[in-house]
């Protein structure tokens, strides 16, 4: 199963603004404007690489998650991997 790892925290400048959060990614020089739960996903994946079910369980401790969230989360992770904020291992 694919595991995912977030960019190292030292490479990210995260500035919450209002509803949205700015992320400046030092390694790429790219600025991302993101909504929740992207900052939370990055935080959960900062220390170690996780598979989707494990990540889902971690996020469930902090958020109310509905059924079918696993697929949605996998889709978000693929978007984040395409943006380079998360690496698929």
């Amino acid at each position: 199963m694919n595991r995912y790892r977030a960019a190292a925290p030292a490479t990210l400048r995260i500035v919450p603004l209002d509803a949205l959060t700015l992320i400046y990614h030092r390694a790429s020089g790219i600025t991302h404007i993101v909504d929740s739960p992207v900052p939370e996903i990055l935080e959960a994946l900062a220390g170690e690489a996780l598979a989707v079910p494990v990540l889902l369980a971690r996020l469930a401790e902090r958020f109310e998650l509905a059924d079918g969230e696993a697929e949605a989360l996998a889709a978000r992770l693929d978007e984040l991997a395409a943006a380079g904020l998360v690496e698929r291992l």
């Binding site: 400048r13 500035v15 209002d18 509803a19």
Partner: protein
Amino acid sequence: MRHATALRIGPVGFRLGSDWPGPVAAIDDLYAGYPQPLDGIPDFTVRLFAARPWRRWLRPSVHIGGDYVLPDAAPLPLALGLIAAEMGMNLQMALGQRRYLLLHASAVERDGRALLMTGISGAGKSTLAALLMARGWRLMGDEFALVDPETGLVHAFPRLISLKNEAIPVMEAALPGARFGPRLEGTPKGTIRHLVPDAGSLAAMDAPAVPALILFPRYGFATETREVLPSETFLWLTQASTNYVALAERGFDALTRLVTQVPARALDYPDTDSAIAEVERLWASL
């Protein structure tokens, strides 16, 4: 090159070379009161040249070159040499400016504090800035505002104010004593006439200002003002900046500081009188 001049607009020095005398003479005339580049070393070189030697005389068409160029920039007829020179300088700023975060915005100042106006083309940011200048505000620039990433201050770039089409009679009426350039018909943007910023604006061009209000004006609607969230302002201003990405983390810091510290409003207006009244009202309420 055969004909050359140099000038400084705010903190930015330019050198202009031309195969023809006309564009240099026009620039020297309208920029007569401007200083020289610092240390005699301009930041940017602009070249106006003929693609082939004989095209200096035969259907002369002015190609715009310089340190930074767009490969597909179309040439202009020699009669529009002044516009070519202005476009060449704008191009250097848009493509080459790396010291300041460059915002495609007009800026005016009062009491050391700056009002920035940006938004879609045709929103009237240039005209509104010129009208505010006519009411005693200091014009910092009608096209580019320069944000210093180190200080967060806005630096002036008071080039000639480029008036287009309907804005020309409006400003001729508002500032009957001002210096205007020639009426240039048939430009890519219609008729253009340049307005020289007033003496106070030129004398103070080296004084930066603290940004105090960001406006997104929109012409053609009933007067309405709406608060713009920092994230939305951030997104708009990245679109309005040609060098945000090139400035890397300095650009991020500068823009983040700007949108978190300076209030932003969208301003719809039906006519310039309403817009000016609304700007004065917003300014007084800060």
